[in-house]
């Protein structure tokens, strides 16, 4: 009897979603990760045991310093995925340059997609657009165009919006751009990784001190680590083959 119970428990563990053991500070924001749309190309790539991801982004997708690239969320995404998907070869390539707007990024996108041939494009944008006051219509159109370009080359898309940065909050009007990204993601039926709300929650709960002046990288690295892990959760949940999406899909 006891053995049966143990077996049952093991089975249930196996049946439960393979949620990785993230540090508690990451898990604070777990509920804000909403895999509301499917990633069919990723599902197929996982079945073929080979997943390539292209991260296209601007300055907030990297960290300064000699290990900046290795410490930033794209490589942490790769690690988290590899950990949670044993047997799948996960490769994350990046096209990251600071001070880029969405209209600028879509110019570089076709070449980057052709070079990486990813099953998934993770596209971080919106910050520089807000700083430079790019016309919101042009911003939305660039998002639409980028998503359809990725789809036409056989890649799924996940959007990542701006960081929450308390010190510059009164100087950068992110609002319109964050909302536009939310709306475009909903219309185009692609998942949005709501980095803004996640970091805002961390800031408000004091999980991470986001307004202290420092040149140390420790907090920045932990933030990127959590972003990489939560992003991996989103990708895995949205790529799960049989289950219906948790919510939001029409």
């Amino acid at each position: 009897m006891r053995r049966r119970l143990l077996l049952l428990a093991l089975l249930m563990l196996g049946a439960a979603p393979a949620r990785a053991e993230h540090p508690a500070e990451c898990r604070v924001a777990e509920n804000l990760v909403e895999p509301n749309f499917r990633l069919p190309k990723v599902t197929r790539a996982l079945a073929a045991k080979h997943l390539t991801i292209l991260v296209m982004g601007a300055g907030s997708s990297q960290l300064p310093g000699p290990n900046g690239m290795a410490n930033a969320y794209p490589i942490r995404l790769q690690k988290a995925l590899a950990q949670q998907l044993p047997g799948v070869e996960v490769k994350v390539t990046t096209d990251i340059k600071s001070k880029r707007t969405a209209p600028e990024m879509i110019k570089a996108l076709p070449a980057a997609l052709a070079a990486a041939k990813p099953a998934l494009l993770v596209w971080q944008t919106g910050t520089v657009d807000a700083m430079l006051g790019v016309d919101p219509d042009q911003f939305s159109q660039a998002l639409d165009k980028g998503i359809s370009t990725a789809h036409s080359t056989g890649a799924d898309v996940v959007l990542i919006n701006a960081q929450y940065s308390p010190r510059t909050e009164s100087m950068i009007a992110l609002g319109t751009y964050v909302e536009d990204m939310r709306w475009v993601a909903l219309q185009q039926e692609v998942p949005l990784f709501d980095r803004f709300s996640i970091m805002k929650l961390w800031g408000e709960l004091g999980t991470f001190d986001l307004s202290s002046a420092t040149n140390k990288l420790d907090i920045a690295e932990r933030v990127h680590d959590c972003i990489g892990r939560l992003l991996a959760d989103l990708v895995i949940a949205a790529a799960k083959p049989e289950e219906t999406p948790t919510n939001g899909s029409r």
Binding site: G59, V128, Q163, T168, A173
Partner: protein
């Protein structure tokens, strides 16, 4: 020409005062008290109220001046007012630059290297300050005064027309609004983009306010008392409220039919979306229905703080912009606990009321003959209360 009514409508001061408080609260980012402001519960926000009432009071003050002293003199007064607002804007800009320069020198964080790029304009102050003086470079939340300046520059010919052919003036204004949508008119901004508040769009609300002041509201009064209209307004407000809830609870978004979403989004603030105008009008209809002009509450002490702020709107507005900078500064430098946020919000409004009361007291003292001005100056006309 119908004579412009001479009695000041306290409701205007009351709601403009409240709008100024809401603008102050909305301008402090991540302020928990922002949850009470109207922009969270529908399409329009305090900006619509402020622009409409500013148009109304401008017509009220300068309309009388134009009838009594002619086009040239009253236009000169309007332009003088625009100049005062320009000076106020430049003053705020100086405070803003000081704050930004402090942050640029004291704040460093590897997580936000990209965001700190917003301070790069300090590296070439020659261009930035010149562009700011030309009203092309406008930092965040400093867009309303430049809009107000342009609206006043456009106002003398509109007022002239409003006094002669009010309907024609309103049609002209609506035509400009429609052409703006058709040809995508706006004024360029620096370093890119266009004005956040498109003057070609927002002039409609300003002129509509002026039209109401010059007899339009009286012509509409039969309609405004109609229960059908009030019912429609309430229905529209409920609809807007339901849509607004989907912004905060994205799970509700699945209940919005796709054709409704496609029809309403994006709700354009820059170009004053029709949905926003309708939302403002619905609010106005309900307000006018439930708060009559002679409502006794208007003279009660409870509403005095808002009324006194509304009566000195330029000063209160500028103070509010400054206080919102300062409030956000306290959040990031000292504490952003909820209690601090509430205290800062309440203290900010208290300071706005105190300064408005001080100005009010000073004006009255001046009027009683203590001041150097001859009595002929007629402070009520000076445009100080527009």
């Amino acid at each position: 020409m119908t004579p412009v009514s001479t009695e000041r409508d306290l409701r205007l001061d009351l709601f403009r005062g409240i709008a100024l408080w809401l603008i102050f609260l909305d301008h402090i980012p991540s302020n928990v008290v922002n949850w009470i402001t109207i922009r969270n519960y529908g399409f329009s926000d305090a900006t619509e109220i402020f622009v409409f009432i500013s148009g109304y009071t401008a017509a009220f003050v300068y309309g009388r001046a134009m009838q009594q002293h002619g086009f040239i003199v009253s236009s000169a007064r309007v332009l003088k007012r625009a100049w005062q607002i320009y000076i106020a804007h430049v003053f705020l800009l100086a405070i803003y630059l000081a704050e930004i320069a402090y942050v640029a020198n004291s704040f460093e964080n590897p997580l936000f290297t990209e965001e700190m790029g917003v301070l790069d304009f300090l590296k070439n102050p020659d261009v930035t300050i010149l562009q700011a003086l030309l009203l092309k470079f406008k930092p965040v939340n400093m867009d309303i005064l430049p809009l107000y300046i342009l609206l006043l520059l456009w106002f003398p010919p509109m007022l002239w027309l409003l006094l002669r052919a009010p309907s024609l003036a309103l049609i002209t204004s609506a035509t400009v609004y429609a052409l703006m949508w058709f040809f995508e008119w706006n004024i360029p901004a620096y370093p890119n983009g266009t004005w956040i508040f498109n003057p070609f769009a927002w002039q409609l609300l300003f002129v509509f306010g002026a039209w109401c002041a010059l007899g339009g509201a009286q012509n509409l009064s039969r309609w405004l008392r109609s229960r059908v209209l009030v019912g429609l307004a309430i229905a529209y407000l409920i609809f807007a409220f339901a849509i607004a809830m989907t912004w905060y609870f994205p799970r509700l978004a699945i209940y919005v039919p796709k054709f409704v979403g496609d029809a309403i989004y994006p709700i354009d603030k820059t170009n004053l979306d029709v949905l926003r105008i309708m939302h403002f009008l619905a609010l106005a209809v309900i307000t006018v229905y439930f708060v009559p002009r002679d409502w006794p509450g208007l003279t009660s002490r409870i509403f005095w703080p808002a009324i006194v702020c509304g009566q000195h709107s330029l000063e209160t507005f500028c103070l509010g912009v400054f206080l919102s900078f300062a409030g956000h500064f306290v959040f990031t430098e000292v504490s952003n606990r909820i209690l601090t946020q509430v205290l800062i919000s309440v203290a900010g409004i208290a300071i706005m009321v105190a300064i408005a009361a001080l100005i009010s007291w000073y004006r009255q003292a001046e009027r009683r003959g203590g001041g150097p001005r001859p009595p002929a100056a007629r402070p009520g006309y000076a445009g100080g209360d527009v």
